[in-house]
Each structure stands twice: as structure tokens, then as C-alpha cells.
């Protein structure tokens, strides 16, 4: 099965009286690195949670292949989730488990491999990410960057068709930030997956993305290639690229 395109159409989402997403429409390109950018509080993470089925939109559709996540039953969404991987901002590793147990967890829980096969696969992926020797280590002993690598290994072990990254470089120093950038490219290379990155890191966006979508006040300002962004005369885009405030 090939990596699907995700079609997002007219998605709205409110929390109480606060409307976070106001009719967002965009396409996630299959097999490419897609960045969704915007300042803090513009609805990027909410959109990511809608794409992974953690939130339901108030209206609109999110089509993952032929399945509309907005209306699908939990069992259908769970089937889709087995084709997804998500790297959380802080990693969200299970701190009661070792590195190896964390990485193996999805295979163990869904009976997707024997213990020997799972360990072999986990060691291979951890090795590719430079974390092979930490297999038996408690996750509490890892640095932030190492935790992100382990979390990425856990996301990749099920051979996902789509990998989501939630603000992967937030809070990291430039060196760690560039390591995470490498992980994003690595994730796409390892699994040939569709990659969706929510970020406000402009440097990473323009150097890594195949497609960029800028959100502003819960709406799409522009969706296009990095070159289209660089050439855009739209004041919102220009302000965002230059780091200024258009508010």
C-alpha cells in the first residue's frame, strides 16, 4: 500500500468560545516532507492532534486515504493509527520502561512480531539512530536529544506510512536542533513515509520541506513549496519569514 495523501477540508475546531481553527484546508503530499508552520497559539498542534485522531474537528473532513478521520469510528481510526507514527514534543516515552521496551512496545502490544524479531528490529532502528548501545537503559537517564531519538525509533518500528513530528526542535540548542533535522530526513529515508512536521523553526522549514503551509489565526495563509514562500509578497508570509509580527 502506497503512502496516502491526507486531504484536510474546511476543518474548524473550538474550545469553549475560543475558535482555534477556522476552516483550514490543505493537502499533505504523499512521500514528501510537509511542514505546517505558524507562531505559538495559531492552531498547529491542534491540527496535528486532529490529523492523528486525538481531537475530532467540529466540522470539515480529514481524509486519510478513503477514511474520513473526522467521522470514523474509533476502531477505524485505530486501524489507521497502526500506519502512523508520532514524535511528541517531549518524546512522551514511558518512563517506567527501558529504551528497548519503549521501542518494542507497539510491536509487543499488537502482537506484530515475536520477542526475538522485535528486539532485532528495535536494535536495528536504534542503531541507525545512534542509540543501539542504550537498549537496556532507563529512559530517565537519557538527554532530551536522546529521548527524541528513542521516540523516533518507537514511531518508526511499525514501518509507518505517515510520521508526524510535533515541534521537534522546540527547547533544543542549535546543535541538537540540527540533529533533529537530520532525524526528520532520516525518518523519511528509512520508511519512505509521508512526513508532517509542525514547527516554527524557519531555517529547518526552508531547508527540509517539500511543502510548507503557514497558519495564521487558525487559517491557512499560504501553502506551497519553500521557493514559493521565499518569493511570496504576502505581508503575513514576509513578516513570518523575517521573524517580524504582522499582528
Amino acid at each position: 500500500m502506497g503512502a496516502p495523501t491526507i486531504e484536510i477540508r474546511d476543518v474548524t475546531k473550538s474550545f469553549g468560545h475560543f475558535e482555534v481553527l477556522k476552516g483550514v484546508s490543505l493537502d499533505i503530499l504523499a512521500g514528501k516532507i510537509n511542514f505546517i508552520i505558524g507562531r505559538s497559539g495559531e492552531g498547529k498542534s491542534v491540527l496535528l492532534k486532529i490529523l492523528t485522531g486525538l481531537y475530532r474537528p467540529d466540522s470539515g473532513s480529514v481524509k486519510f486515504g478513503s477514511v474520513n478521520i473526522a467521522k470514523a469510528k474509533t476502531s477505524e481510526i485505530n486501524k489507521l493509527r497502526r500506519r502512523m507514527g508520532l514524535l511528541f514534543q517531549e518524546g512522551a516515552l514511558f518512563d517506567s520502561m527501558s529504551v528497548g521496551e519503549n521501542v518494542i512496545f507497539p510491536l509487543w502490544f499488537h502482537n506484530l512480531a515475536t520477542p526475538q524479531e522485535a528486539k532485532k528490529k528495535a536494535l536495528a532502528i536504534l542503531g541507525e539512530l545512534g542509540m543501539g548501545r542504550y537498549f537496556n537503559l532507563a529512559v530517565s537517564l537519557l538527554s532530551t536529544g536522546e529521548k527524541k531519538r528513542v521516540a523516533l525509533a518507537r514511531a518508526l518500528i511499525v514501518d509507518p506510512e505517515v510520521v508526524f513530528f510535533d515541534e521537534p526542535t522546540t527547547g533544543l540548542d542549535p546543535l541538537l536542533g540540527s540533529q533533529v533535522d537530520e532525524l526528520i530526513v532520516h525518518a523519511q529515508k528509512i520508511s519512505q513515509a509521508t512526513v508532517v512536521v509542525v514547527s516554527h523553526d524557519m531555517a529547518a522549514t526552508l531547508s527540509l520541506a517539500d511543502r510548507v503551509t503557514l497558519l495564521r489565526l487558525g487559517q491557512v495563509v499560504l501553502s506551497g513549496s519553500p521557493d514559493e514562500f521565499r518569493k511570496s509578497k504576502d505581508q503575513e508570509v514576509v513578516n513570518f519569514l523575517s521573524g517580524g509580527d504582522s499582528a
Partner: protein, 258 residues
């Protein structure tokens, strides 16, 4: 606002809040029970929780049972000896331990040790997005985290209570003998007075308390809001609500059973 209206509004808010929490608690526990009947079960997870609830609580429960039986004997031996009813000390200790002291004190100790830990663990998983991570990996957090804890509570509390009952009677025995009572006097009439129904009903109570401890601890942890302060608040609430629920339900079950 008119002070009377303000009081009525406050009562109304309290009522709505109570109904909201009871409803959400009911739905969560029903989903957790349903989790028992949907594969995969992952028995390793259940045994891990049983170890945490049962084996790890053993020491504190034995200590509690031993000293409770001992101090209870100290209190009654003096009074009973005034009526030459020393032969009733053993049966009284055994009845009190099996019917009330064993189940209730074991439940209160386990609440402090395990219920609070469940709330703290789940709430910290909630605030650090570990529960979202489970969901995104298509692993239902209720089934994975709460169902094994419920089962462990319901199975292990009666076992711990049985041990506390036995240790309490043994503690009472040593105190009574230490106070000059003949060993035969202490044990002689226990089997005449204490019937299996006493023991059995005490264990049923314990199973219900185990359900309360696990379900309340998990509920408080699962619906935690906020960061570190939310974790602390959930843990405190889990202990307080469990304590009150255990004592109230103990009264009601005792009224029904005995």
C-alpha cells in the same frame, strides 16, 4: 446577588458537579471492565499490577494486622476479665478482625500506598502526553492502564485481608498469652463463635474496597488537568475520596450483610 440565591446556586453547582463526576466515573469504570473481554489481554501487565498492589503491600499490611490485633486484645482483655469472660477474648478478636478491622484497615493502608501511587502515576502520564502516545499507537489507555489495576485491586485486597485477619488473631494471641491468658482459653471458642460467613463477608467487603481504591485512584489520575500541581491535587483527592468511600460503603455493607 441575593444571599439566598447565592446559596441555592452554590448547592446547584455542587450537585451538577457531583453528577458530572459520578457519570464520568461510571463510564470510565464500565469501559475498564469491558477491557477485560477484548483481546489482547497482556497478562504480564496484570501480574505486574498484582505484584504492585499485593506483594509490595504485604509488609505494611502484616504490620497493621499484627498491631491492630494486639492493641485490640489489650483493650478487651481488661474489660472481659472483670466479668470472667476471658474465654471470649479470642472469639471477639477473631470476629472483629474478620468482619471489620481486617478489611477496613487493610483497605485504608493500601489506599495510602497504592491508590495514591496509581493517581500519581496516571496523572504524570497524562501531563507528559504518555497517554496520548498510547492512543496514537492504537493502544487504548483505559484497557492498558486501568483494567489491570482494577483487576489487581479486586483480587489482591481479599488476599491481603485474609493475611491481615490471620496475623491480627496471631498478634492478639501473643498479647493475650503475654498477659497471662491460657493459650487454650484464647483459641478454644474461636471456631464456635466465628463462622465462615464472617470471614467470607469480610473478604467480599475487601474485594469491593479494592475496586474502590483502584477505580478512584485511576479516575483521579486519568482526568488530571494542569501540570505538577494537577498531579499533587489528583493524588490527594484520590486518597481522600477513597477513604470516605471505604468508610461509607463499609457501613452500608455491614448493615446489609450482618
Amino acid at each position: 446577588m441575593n444571599p439566598i440565591l447565592a446559596v441555592v446556586a452554590a448547592i446547584g453547582r455542587f450537585g451538577l458537579n457531583a453528577v458530572f463526576h459520578l457519570g464520568r466515573y461510571g463510564i470510565l469504570t464500565c469501559k475498564a471492565i469491558l477491557g477485560l473481554f477484548t483481546p489482547p489481554l497482556r497478562l504480564r501487565n496484570y501480574f505486574k499490577q498484582m505484584e504492585s498492589v499485593g506483594v509490595d503491600s504485604l509488609f505494611v499490611v502484616i504490620l497493621t494486622g499484627l498491631f491492630t490485633g494486639g492493641v485490640f486484645t489489650l483493650q478487651i482483655i481488661y474489660g472481659f476479665s472483670r466479668f470472667s469472660a476471658e474465654s471470649m477474648v479470642g472469639p471477639t478478636v477473631a470476629t472483629a478482625m474478620t468482619r471489620e478491622l481486617g478489611p477496613v484497615l487493610t483497605a485504608l493502608m493500601v489506599t495510602g500506598r497504592v491508590g495514591s501511587a496509581m493517581a500519581a502515576e496516571l496523572s504524570s502520564m497524562k501531563v507528559s502526553e504518555q497517554m496520548d502516545a498510547l492512543t496514537v499507537m492504537a493502544a487504548d489507555p483505559i484497557k492498558y492502564l486501568i483494567t489491570p489495576r482494577l483487576v489487581a485491586g479486586v483480587i489482591m485486597l481479599p488476599l491481603l485481608t485474609a493475611i491481615a485477619d490471620a496475623v491480627g488473631v496471631i498478634g492478639g494471641f501473643f498479647v493475650a498469652v503475654g498477659r497471662g491468658l491460657d493459650p487454650g482459653q484464647f483459641t478454644g471458642r474461636i471456631t464456635d463463635i466465628v463462622v465462615m460467613g464472617d470471614v467470607f463477608n469480610g473478604l467480599i467487603k475487601a474485594a469491593f474496597f479494592g475496586f474502590i481504591i483502584s477505580s478512584v485512584g485511576c479516575y483521579m489520575g486519568f482526568y488530571t488537568q494542569g501540570g505538577a500541581s494537577g498531579v499533587g491535587r489528583s493524588t490527594t483527592q484520590a486518597v481522600v475520596v477513597s477513604y470516605v468511600s471505604i468508610l461509607v460503603s463499609d457501613f452500608m455493607m455491614t448493615a446489609i450483610m450482618f
